[in-house]
């Protein structure tokens, strides 16, 4: 759609600008302020330059958390994307089943994040939870509050349970935009199921998949609530991801300087990915218009 150039449109945007400025720019400036000063109390503060940044970047706990975060986010994407595509292909195309599946699939997405944690906390316990009980019954020594590996896997399964539906719904939206004629043509050509998937379905899902991958990347990169409720970041530090680590040093230990420096680094990573997301989405929009 070709738009009219009109700078009066700024008046329509001003309310949004102000409200987001209050809730984003002012706090961000506070963070910048903290990140370059050592504050003992409101009257006593020293300018320390980039010391906090240096300290944070050399902090081995941060490195560990970052590595854990990257492995975790990688695993999330590696499992959820193929699984989501697979499930989307199995969904019925018409009839009452479509609405029923939509609603059932979307259910985990609408549950408050801490309740997701609670659900799996209950479900995974060996004494009162169905999942943990069943695993122990078949002879596995499963205990997510003692064994780091079990805890890590539980957090991962919880994320798959919570968010795969998002990928399914996005892919399904992409699949529905394929006209029936394409399938008929493929049938006449005698195309195999794989060929249909590779040359008809996958290209149509491409743009929604990009959105799906980036949303899952961002959200799993800042995951906090679910592991916090389920394991509290433990046992040890097995499930302490970046957000958890940040909250621990900011609120738990009240180390404002390092926390602020770390926040800014964290934010820059997010900003970079965001920019990729924006460019890709906007280009996809342009290609569709042509």
């Amino acid at each position: 759609m070709n738009k009219i150039t009109n700078n009066k449109a700024w008046f329509l945007v001003l309310p949004v600008f102000f409200i987001v400025a209050i809730s984003a720019i002012i706090p961000l400036m506070t963070v910048v302020n903290y990140s370059v000063q050592d504050i003992f109390d409101p009257q006593t503060r020293f300018f320390v330059g980039a010391d906090w940044f240096r300290q944070v970047l050399e902090d081995s706990r941060l490195h560990d958390a970052l590595i854990r975060q990257i492995i975790y986010t990688g695993s999330v994407l590696f499992i959820e994307i193929p699984l989501g595509i697979g499930i989307a292909l199995t969904l019925p195309r018409k009839g009452w089943g479509v609405s029923a599946c939509m609603v059932l699939l979307a259910l985990p997405l609408l549950i408050p994040w801490n309740v997701v944690g609670t659900i799996w906390q209950i479900f995974g316990r060996a004494d009162i939870g169905l999942g943990g009980y069943a695993l122990n019954m078949i002879g596995m020594d499963y205990n997510y509050s003692q064994n780091p590996m079990d805890a890590w896997v539980t957090v991962l399964v919880m994320d798959v349970w919570h968010w795969t539906s998002l990928i399914v719904l996005l892919c399904y939206a992409g699949l529905r935009s394929i006209p029936d004629a394409y399938y008929q043509a493929a049938k006449i050509d005698g195309a195999s199921n794989w060929a249909v998937f590779r040359f008809i379905q996958l290209p149509k899902m491409q743009s929604v998949l990009v959105i799906g991958v980036l949303l899952r990347f961002m959200d799993s990169f800042m995951i906090y609530t679910e592991p916090f409720v389920l394991t509290g970041g433990g046992p040890g530090t097995a499930t302490t991801f970046l957000s958890q680590f940040l909250v621990t040093i900011a609120v738990g230990q009240f180390d404002l300087g390092p926390a602020a420096a770390f926040s800014l680094i964290y934010f820059l990573i997010i900003l970079l990915v965001c920019w990729v997301f924006y460019t890709v989405v906007m280009n996809a929009g342009k290609r569709e218009e042509q």
Partner: protein, 267 residues
């Protein structure tokens, strides 16, 4: 419809989705002695006592009321500011529009943990700590961008000729916007309201940090119960079930737009 292998896969996946939710519900209608005593797939003596506890104890039900209040305020603020802005983004080019649109997105993607401390100090210093409005404003951080993006997606689907015809017919902008345009994107507004509601309802970190007693949301009540005193699993499960109810009730109405909402209007 023939029964195929793929239906089995779908069925298994849906069972995987529903089993943990069923277990939560199952526990919410058991007594504590049954929860801790034996592993039963179905409750032997179904009881509503856990729900009764929540609905009669102010410490519990005030959590729901507090959550409802700040979520409501947040939805109203988000929609009011996002409607004109989304219209501007979908209809006009103006200086810095692309940068502004991108900047909004970065706020949706920003980790709330980064804003935790500054929010706490900002709202404490202006005396808004532990009020509903503080949480509502804090949630605007991600909900206003979300609302703008979703609404822009819906508005771009309305042909621009409608605007032009209305202006030629002598409608002023405010009159056109309220009497013609808003009715046209009713469903878009409904979907946006649903998603603002949802994301504000499910958020824990900011809501918990900005409140202590008077505006304590239900999600915080739940996590604090876990850390304090002996665990009452039955009541905790019942509280969990009650937080799922609002989403489950309205999801039917937005079922065709779920993907669009979660993808910020970009599907």
């Amino acid at each position: 419809m023939r029964f195929q292998k793929r239906h089995i896969a779908l069925l298994l996946y849906i069972v995987f989705l529903l089993l943990p939710i069923y277990w939560l519900f199952n526990m919410s209608i058991k007594t504590n002695s049954e929860i801790l005593g034996a592993m039963t797939l179905f409750p032997e003596n179904p009881t509503l006592a856990n729900y009764a506890t929540i609905l009669t104890d102010p410490a519990w039900y005030s959590g729901y009321i507090n959550s409802m209040i700040y979520v409501g305020i947040n939805v109203v603020i988000s929609l009011l500011v996002a409607l004109p802005a989304a219209y501007a983004f979908s209809r006009y080019n103006f200086t810095g529009d692309k940068h502004l649109f991108f900047w909004l997105l970065t706020n949706r993607m920003a980790p709330p943990a980064v804003f935790l401390l500054p929010f706490f100090q900002l709202y404490s210093s202006v005396g808004l700590f532990d009020t509903h409005i503080a949480v509502a404003l804090a949630h605007c951080l991600f909900n206003v961008p979300l609302a703008v993006w979703i609404l822009e997606g819906f508005m771009s689907g309305i042909p621009k000729e409608i605007d032009e015809t209305a202006y030629i017919d002598g409608y002023s902008f405010p009159r056109f916007f309220t009497t013609i345009f808003i009715p046209l994107i009713r469903s878009g507004i409904g979907v946006t309201a649903f998603f603002c509601f949802m994301f504000s309802w499910v958020e824990l970190l900011l809501a918990r940090t900005l409140t202590s007693v008077d505006a304590k949301p239900i999600v915080a009540t739940m996590t604090r119960t876990v850390s304090a005193s002996g665990l009452d699993w039955g009541v905790l499960a019942a509280a969990g079930v009650l937080t799922i109810v609002p989403g489950a009730l309205v999801i039917w109405f937005v079922r065709n737009y779920i993907a669009k909402g979660f993808a910020m209007g970009r599907v």
